[in-house]
């Protein structure tokens, strides 16, 4: 009796993980693998939205994007400006605040929670509403500037400042990144600092020789995450600056959205989407390849 149960149990366990993964297999096939294949195939077609037909055109969508569609390059520039300024800003702010919170201060939990609120509200449309007024012509930001004698800035309508309005909104949501840094900092063994102070290392020296190297694996994780989040930013540019002014915030995801869902030119939109994937892929690859030189693994 006992024996058969055991054999039965063993057999079940061998199959068990696959059974448990059935939903996952279906999900990956239907919502991840199929979309990538379908994306590529359909990017070789031209869609006729009115007739609902499509026509094979080879790589024409791609050549048109590269050589005959300046809006694409405007969007590449807008996206990269946002990504390359926003990512470091979020990382630096998050690390700085985590570093201060890591000193054993009273009330750390309260601050931790308060700093996390913007991350939770994140892309909510209500936040976009508030942000567009905070940075509006007579809003509080300009009111602060006027105290320092600075003329009001049209944060939303000015080509130079509009991207910064959105970058600040992203920086405002640094909380979740900060929490991950903080957890890493709290894992650094205090004996390392004790040994360093006995050796006479100053606090700044300790920061650069002990703290920073030990959190680099988490820095890599955060960098890739924040980078991807910035590439995908849609709500703020769509709702606050409304892609303008003069396309300064017309991010690639919004251009793709327009061509796919407003103009129903799926082939063209998908070709742009493949280009976006390529750009993201190249940038993440650069981060990973260079990480060999700046990520420090302790074990």
């Amino acid at each position: 009796m006992v024996k058969t149960a055991k054999v039965k149990g063993k057999k079940r366990i061998k199959l068990a993980p696959y059974m448990l993964l059935i939903p996952w297999f279906i999900g990956m096939a239907l919502f991840r693998v199929y979309p990538i294949i379908a994306s590529f195939i359909n990017s070789l077609y031209q869609f006729q939205p009115i007739r609902g037909t499509r026509e094979f055109i080879g790589f024409d969508n791609y050549t048109r994007i590269l050589f005959d569609f300046p809006h694409f390059w405007d969007s590449v520039r807008a996206t990269l400006t946002y990504v390359l300024l926003g990512t470091p800003l979020v990382l630096i702010m998050a690390f700085f605040v985590a570093f201060i919170l890591n000193f054993k201060l009273k009330g750390v939990n309260l601050f931790r929670t308060a700093y996390y609120i913007p991350s939770i509200l994140g892309g909510n449309v209500a936040v976009a509403i508030v942000w567009s007024q905070v940075f509006g012509g007579n809003g509080p930001v300009n009111a602060v500037l006027s105290i320092f004698g600075v003329d009001p800035i049209s944060w939303i309508q000015d080509e130079f400042f509009a991207p910064f309005t959105l970058i600040f909104l992203s920086a405002w949501q640094f909380g979740s990144v900060m929490l991950i840094f903080l957890a890493a900092l709290q894992n650094v063994s205090p004996t390392l600092y004790e040994a360093a102070s006995i050796d006479g290392a100053k606090k700044t020296r300790q920061l650069f020789s002990i703290t920073l190297p030990l959190v680099t694996p988490v820095l890599l994780f955060n960098t890739v995450n924040v980078l991807l989040r910035h590439f995908q930013e849609f709500n703020s540019a769509y709702l606050i600056t409304m892609r303008g002014p003069n396309r300064a915030t017309d991010f690639l995801v919004i251009l793709i959205y327009e061509y796919a869902f407003r103009r129903m030119q799926f082939g063209f939109a998908l070709a742009m989407s493949m280009m976006l994937l390529l750009i993201i892929g190249i940038l993440t690859l650069i981060v990973f390849i260079t990480s060999k030189y700046w990520v420090h693994y302790s074990d």
Binding site: L20, L21, P140, A143, V218, V224, Q232
Partner: protein, 286 residues
């Protein structure tokens, strides 16, 4: 000498507190300003930094107006519509991600490495890249403009972020626990439900809460998949008032934004522990 040293550490601590309080105030100010402005007359809102309305000039008229969010429907209607896709999203996400994480985190089987790699790679892929082909698929299946189009995916553990999060948490639970259950004759599913789920409770709650919050904030999904006014969810309705009210009804706009954020804020304050711990987990130890 001793005295000087103490005062120096005290000064350092004071500087840190000042920085933390200033940063915290700047972060929370936009929200306080939003709340305060929803009680102000329009002329009192701009051109100053005040959070509260001037003394004796409080007004409560914006709230009833904002409650009637659009000419067609009140806020309740949009909240209910939002819940109609949010609740299935949360349920599906929690169940499917726990199952997948259990299989990957607790079993040794051929192909496990590949599966874990796929989880990590899909972690790096932007959601939008999948949305166009899924839209075309749903269009062919007649699923457009249904709430199902927003939550079907959640039943298939496609969100690798959450699968990964649960795997990380599971690593901290000793394997002896499920081995003991196995010896007692529990099958894998029973082990999961009766032994692991009670221990996994905090991370499961985190996954549910984060799914809820992301769904609440999602604007792109409803914008793409929903069409008819009857299916309009809160984020879409709020976007309409952003366009319509802007001309004059500022107080009303702030009141609407405030009311739209109340549930999110309430849930956050009630469960902030789960959020903070969950995010800390996701960073991983390696």
């Amino acid at each position: 000498m001793q005295k000087r040293k103490i005062s120096k550490t005290q000064i350092n601590a004071a500087i840190r507190y000042v920085i933390l309080i200033i940063v915290g105030f700047i972060l929370i100010y936009p929200l306080l300003w939003m709340i305060g402005s929803s009680f102000k007359h329009n002329i009192d809102i701009f051109g100053n930094l005040n959070i509260l309305p001037p003394a004796g000039r409080w007004t409560f008229e914006h709230f009833p107006n904002a409650w009637q969010l659009t000419s067609r429907n009140t806020m309740v209607f949009y909240y209910m519509n939002t819940l109609r896709f949010l609740i299935p999203q949360v349920v599906g996400q929690v169940i499917s991600c726990t199952l997948a994480a259990y299989a990957i985190g607790r079993f040794e089987f051929p192909g496990k490495k590949i599966i874990f790699t796929i989880v990590m790679v899909t972690l790096l892929m932007p959601e939008l890249a999948f949305r166009i082909p899924i839209f075309m698929l749903y269009r062919d299946l007649g699923l457009l403009d249904t709430f199902a189009s927003l939550y079907i995916q959640n039943f298939f553990a496609v969100n690798s972020f959450f699968v990964f999060m649960i795997i990380q948490f599971m690593r901290t639970i000793p394997r002896e626990l499920d081995e003991a259950a196995e010896i007692d004759g529990c099958g894998p599913l029973k082990t999961l439900i009766y032994i692991l789920v009670p221990v996994l409770r905090p991370i499961i709650i985190t996954v549910g809460l984060l799914t809820f919050m992301w769904g609440m904030n999602d604007f792109q999904g409803p914008l793409i998949f929903l069409r008819s006014p009857d299916n309009r969810v809160l984020s879409l309705a709020l976007r309409m008032i952003l366009q319509d009210y802007e001309v004059t009804h500022f107080g009303q706009m702030f009141a609407a934004a405030f009311m739209a954020l109340i549930p999110t804020l309430a849930i956050f304050f009630a469960c902030s522990r789960y959020f903070v711990e969950g995010v800390t987990q996701s960073g991983g130890k390696e």
